[in-house]
């Protein structure tokens, strides 16, 4: 625990310097159109393997406590861990566990042709909530997020898609808000874009 505390002192999330940034003309009392919160996750692991391989699936189930989603555009979660479908043999695992621990456990449990890559330093997550989220998503790209609320399978949806001129892994959480998993080097651009895109409705990057 001491190590973790020390780590927190010296680590910097990609958008630490934007906390408290506000755009818009909305008065202080008015409801914010968009609240952006950068979420600190324990780790992000890129996982490759064959979903049909029984041993692979069993190993994942043992370590992560979930089965890997095989339906495109969905994620499975268990506790603080989620696995997002990125491709037929590729998933993004986001978890509160430390990268080294989780990676070691997975390596122990999984055999054969697989790949586990720690990409923790290269990612961050932004939670978007507020009344202008649907509009902001429509401005960001051509994916039809409205359809997620329209059809029956409206839970556990995610998609890796264009976001403005960058990319994002967009997922909808159980409470209806949206999470963007984005690349570190594009984080500033995406944050500035969000501040601009929802200026008319007020946008706060929460501290």
């Amino acid at each position: 625990m001491a190590d973790l505390a020390a780590n927190n002192m010296i680590m910097q999330s990609p958008l630490h310097y934007l906390k408290g940034q506000y755009s818009g003309t909305v008065t202080a009392n008015a409801e914010l159109g968009l609240t952006v919160t950068e979420i600190q996750q324990g780790c992000y692991l890129n996982l490759r393997g064959k979903a049909a391989d029984q041993d692979f699936a069993a190993g994942i189930q043992t370590i992560l406590g979930l089965s890997l989603p095989t339906v495109p555009g969905t994620y499975h979660s268990h506790g603080s861990t989620m696995a997002c479908w990125l491709g037929p043999d590729e998933w993004m695992v986001v978890s509160n566990h430390a990268a080294e621990t989780l990676q070691a456990a997975l390596r122990d449990a999984l055999k054969g042709h697989i790949s586990i890559v720690d990409v923790t330093g290269g990612q961050t997550q932004l939670n978007l909530r507020g009344s202008s989220v649907p509009l902001v998503l429509k401005k960001a790209g051509s994916y039809d997020f409205e359809a997620w609320s329209a059809d029956g399978a409206s839970v556990n949806r995610c998609v890796q898609t264009n976001f403005a001129k960058a990319t994002a892994l967009v997922s909808r959480s159980a409470d209806g808000s949206f999470d963007l998993t984005i690349r570190r080097s594009f984080a500033d651009y995406i944050a500035q874009w969000l501040l601009d895109a929802s200026k008319e409705h007020g946008c706060l990057i929460q501290g």
Partner: protein, 1005 residues
């Protein structure tokens, strides 16, 4: 009473709200609900512009986007908007507008008085008159532009914000007239996601100016009721002031919504306009129709208007644009205008109908009111200058091709004309559907559809109201059904309409004159560009036959109105002159945009800082705090150099370069592309990609490699490290990262799927600090205790895992400077912390942060190439004097190997990488300079190659350059020359490309 043409009946306007505005510098008043056009007509403003070529005075003709004459400049300063149509500008308090045509002003037009100018401009005028001499074209163009008086774009930056949003729907309905409204309602009731867009300020389309009863009450009442039903449906999105301007493949359509334009320039809050990019499963086009004017002599005099427009001004805006009306028609429908005019309390002089003995219900109503109907006659000419004073009327033969009797002069101040209706097939045309001419309705109809769309109502050639409602209703239910909603059967009963039966119209476009078309006064077809019937006939006489050629030769339909009024008449006149049918002649192809679209809306918010993403490294803010000057490398911002005090770039770079060679420097190398490669076949796969072999590379070791495309030419380079069995880390160039990953995936997925290997980009994960220079080891030792840094334990091209500044790190002994180097990689979350600790540790050695410019100089001193700078896609490894990197004995081939054996790849006078040393040590050769053997040779000189990299090297004390020279490797010691554009010549000696530490001792440290 300033608004002399304002009627007591207000239509859809509100007389209680006075609005002040100015036109051409003069103040006027209008009322809420007015367009600029209706307000100008209410104030009796006759002349709103001057024509393009002949500079004739022109008045308002139409009431919508078809208006050819009322083209204005709105506002002033940064927010000024050119070339708007008066009929589309909603009036707001303080509006200021001026005509774009007319110089010095519309009422006293110098060009018009000179008059002669028009005679100088026959069709094909540009081609005939101003082609030669070519160098004078700029002079001509300046004169023509001034004479033409097109609008002016603002010179300041646009102060407005524009939005761009992506929409998805099951059914998109274009147009909210009667057919569109019922279609949207039927589709909406099924639960389908519906968007209905209309360019007007309110829904209703033609019904906004209609006197007809629907379901027993007024048309506007019915519109209001449908509108509120639509409003109550949460699955229906209604877009007003929204023009669908483009219909592209895969049912992708674009809509321009004018959000705040109607509020005025000052009231603007929020985005001014919004472009909707819509992907629709099904589309219903209900875009209506345009009335077609009759073409007669001097039909361009102010006071000649569209019959339907006159009715619209009377019924919708409560404005009667004149006193005494002559109505020219070839159909029943236009008789409504005579009825409307009469009921407005104005005088109808006569209805001039080209048909003999018309007998429809509307005709009867007109006759009952005692209005004179001159049947079998045509208005052959309008008289007047700035306003119609009379109409010349003459009997015509039954075909409408000849004047067959005496001409009478009817005094009037308004001529309304109607030649029937043309379906608005533009959007259907955008899809590639070829319009079909229908003799029966004298209009094109939409051709066979190539998309998931259908047309309903007038745009489908169905001009009657009840038929249009029926079509709309069917279309709505059908489209929803095809999108997966409802059973395809309309749910609502059709509204009841008492439709009058109309008699057949006459097919008449050009009304004959007593003189032949070529001798008669101009009979205008395209008002905005002054194309006359005579001009079209002349084009045919000159040999033009295709409608597309005639269009370009005469400029028919080239104006900002895109010929919405003139095109069909023009084609009909062309067909007649060619002696063929309209369907054989065909129409020109309509393309997006349907109406002019602002660039701002197309750009949206992707402007200024958000034009292109800026990618930052973890230590970016540290660099900025130190005053680094940044350079764009792809989308990355990389420190270019770190100036101190008032240093110039040159001074800073010299200082940085000396520091690296004499003590220690530090570079942020985080932007290099990094790809994690895992799998039992990883080594085999990598070996096929690079020119050298990785099969025997042991864990803990690195190797430099070059990648070729199939043509044998260098495409990327970098170091690849073996991390463990079946696990590698590949470095790519900063700019090449995405391309290399795609390249690996391409070969794995399409050519070698049997190789078991996975690739994952880890570029963003790692932050990299390169500590380099003779004191590098001492600096790293201060912050790293768990790696044995001694040269024999951790040698050049090795890597080790360890802890740096308390953070897990992977350290590589790779060098791009030729000095002892440690590339320290940590998870980017700790990137800045580790960077700052290294700076702290290096303080006693005066550790110097350096940027990309110094990096370039240092590597050039060592003769290390930069792919993309010293190579250009036509260089082999041998050309770069890097044969050593090509593995000749690999069991499996590598990409590009075979091409290296082509005779052209092997010839000995290929351009080869060499060093150049200017004879004057202080002159720096310009990069890109061409190299010749003999500077006195006559042009064209024999080019020997060019300079690829060139710098002043503070370490060497003279300038250095890398160049590619034909057969250069065998020309050491030769003098070559770089002639510059200013006539000066720099002489240089060909030397080895390695200027510094040629034995490579220092990097082994």
């Amino acid at each position: 009473m300033s608004q002399l043409n304002r009627l007591p009946t207000s239509g859809r306007t509100d007389p209680s709200q006075i609005i002040n505005f100015a036109f051409n510098g003069k103040s006027y008043q209008g009322i809420a609900g007015d367009t600029l056009a209706s307000a100008l007509l209410a104030n009796g403003v006759n002349v709103v512009g001057r024509s393009f070529k002949y500079s004739r005075p022109r008045g308002i003709v139409g009431h919508g986007m078809e208006e050819p004459n009322g083209i204005i400049q709105l506002g002033s300063g940064a927010a000024t908007v050119p070339n708007l149509k008066v009929t589309q500008v909603e009036l707001y308090e303080g509006l200021e507008a001026s005509s774009v045509n007319g110089w010095p002003n519309v009422n006293f037009d110098l060009m018009g008085i000179i008059g002669l100018f028009g005679r100088l401009m026959p069709p094909g005028f540009y081609y005939k008159t101003f082609m030669y001499p070519q160098k004078l074209w700029m002079t001509y163009e300046h004169f023509i532009r001034k004479a033409a008086g097109l609008g002016k774009t603002p010179v300041e930056a646009d102060p407005d914000t524009y939005d761009k949003i992506n929409q998805h729907c099951d059914v998109l309905v274009v147009g909210a007239g009667p057919a569109g409204l019922v279609a949207a309602l039927e589709a909406g009731l099924t639960g389908a996601r519906v968007i209905i867009a209309d360019e007007q300020s309110e829904f209703g389309g033609s019904l906004l100016a209609s006197n007809e009863l629907i379901d027993g009450s007024s048309a506007s009442h019915w519109v209001a009721s449908v509108n509120s039903q639509l409003e109550s449906l949460s699955n229906v999105q209604r877009l007003r002031r929204s023009t669908v301007f483009g219909y592209y493949d895969h049912n992708f359509l674009t809509i321009l919504e004018r959000c705040t334009d109607h509020l005025g320039l000052k009231a603007a809050c929020g985005p001014r306009q919004c472009m909707h990019r819509v992907r629709a499963k099904q589309v219903i086009l209900a875009t209506g129709a345009f009335e077609r004017p009759l073409v007669f002599a001097h039909n361009d005099i102010p006071g000649v208007m569209q019959a339907s427009s006159v009715s619209t001004y009377v019924n919708r805006f409560g404005v009667a644009p004149g006193q005494k009306l002559v109505l020219a028609t070839n159909n029943d429908n236009a008789y409504r205008t005579a009825l409307d005019w009469q009921s407005a309390g104005r005088h109808v002089v006569a209805v001039v109908d080209s048909r003999s003995s018309p007998s429809g219900e509307l005709v009867a109503r007109v006759r009952e009111l005692g209005i004179q109907v001159l049947d079998g006659c045509g208005v052959i000419e309008a008289k007047g200058s700035k306003r119609v004073r009379s109409a010349l009327v003459a009997p015509l033969n039954s075909e409408g091709t000849q004047v067959v009797g005496a001409v009478q002069n009817l005094a009037c101040d308004l001529i309304a004309s109607s030649g029937g209706w043309s379906a608005a097939i533009h959007l259907s045309s955008h899809t590639g559907a070829k319009p079909v001419w229908d003799e029966k309705i004298v209009s094109f109809r939409p051709g066979e559809s190539k998309q998931q769309e259908r047309s309903a109502g007038a745009c489908n050639g169905t001009f009657g109201l009840s038929d249009g409602l029926l079509e709309g209703s069917i279309a709505g239910a059908e489209a929803a059904h095809l999108a997966g909603f409802g059973d395809g059967v309309a749910q609502q009963p059709l509204p009841a309409v008492n439709e009058v039966v109309e008699q057949t119209q006459q097919t008449l476009f050009l009304v004959p004159h007593t003189k032949s078309t070529s001798r008669a006064p101009s009979q205008f077809v395209d008002f905005q560009l002054d194309v006359s019937a005579g001009g079209i006939e002349l084009a045919v006489l000159e040999g033009f036959e295709s409608v597309e050629h005639v269009k370009r030769y005469t400029a028919l339909g080239f104006g900002t109105d895109q010929g919405k009024l003139g095109n069909i008449n023009g084609m009909a006149i062309l067909a007649n002159a060619l002696g063929q049918s309209i369907s054989d002649t065909g129409t020109t192809i309509f393309r997006p945009s349907y109406t002019p679209t602002t660039f701002g809306a197309i750009a949206g918010r992707d402007i200024k800082d958000l034009f292109d993403p800026e990618r930052y490294t973890a230590a970016h803010r540290w660099h900025a705090e130190q005053g680094a000057v940044f350079e764009d490398v792809g989308q990355w911002k990389r420190p270019w150099y770190f100036p101190q005090d008032n240093e110039t770039m040159h001074q800073a770079v010299n200082r940085e370069c000396l520091a690296v060679r004499n003590s220690v420097g530090i570079l942020d190398a985080s932007t290099l592309g990094k790809i994690d490669i895992q799998g039992p076949d990883a080594a085999e796969f990598i070996t096929r990609m690079y020119t050298n072999s990785y099969l025997k590379l042991a864990s803990g070791k690195c190797r430099y490699g070059v990648m070729l495309k199939e043509d044998g030419m260098i495409f990327d380079d970098g170091v690849c490290a073996c991390l463990a069995d079946n696990h590698y880390l590949m470095f790519t160039t900063t700019g090449g990262a995405a391309g290399v990953l795609a390249w690996l995936e391409l070969w794995q997925q399409t050519e070698w799927p049997e190789l078991q290997v996975y690739f994952t980009s880890v570029t963003d994960h790692w932050a990299t600090a390169t500590v380099t220079g003779p004191n590098a080891r001492k600096v790293v030792a201060k912050v790293c205790e768990d790696i044995d840094l001694s040269a024999d334990k951790f040698g050049f091209m090795d890597w080790r895992d360890g802890t740096v500044a308390g953070v897990a790190a992977r350290v590589f002994r790779i060098s791009f400077t030729g000095e002892l180097s440690y590339e320290i990689n940590v998870s980017a979350n700790y990137g800045r912390h580790v960077w700052e600790k290294l700076i702290e540790a290096g303080a006693e050695f005066d550790i110097t942060p350096y940027g990309t410019e110094s990096m370039h100089v240092l590597r050039a001193e060592k003769g290390f190439i930069i792919v993309g700078q010293d190579t250009d896609g036509s260089m082999t490894p041998a050309d770069m004097n890097m044969d050593w990197v090509v593995g000749k004995n690999k069991t499996f081939s590598f990409i590009g190997k075979r091409s290296l054996e082509r005779s052209d790849s092997l010839r000995d006078n290929r351009k080869q990488l060499v060093g150049l040393k200017a004879l004057n040590p202080n002159s720096v050769l310009p990069e890109g300079s061409q190299i010749v053997n003999d500077p006195k040779q006559a042009i064209p000189m024999a080019m020997q190659g060019h300079v690829t990299s060139s710098y002043y090297s503070a370490n060497m004390g003279h300038s250095i350059a890398l160049a590619v020279v034909k057969g250069g490797l065998n020309r050491m010691g030769d003098t070559v020359y770089c002639p510059a554009a200013d006539g000066s010549v720099i002489a240089a000696e060909i030397v080895s490309s390695v200027f510094y530490d040629p034995k490579g001792v220092r990097q082994n440290g």
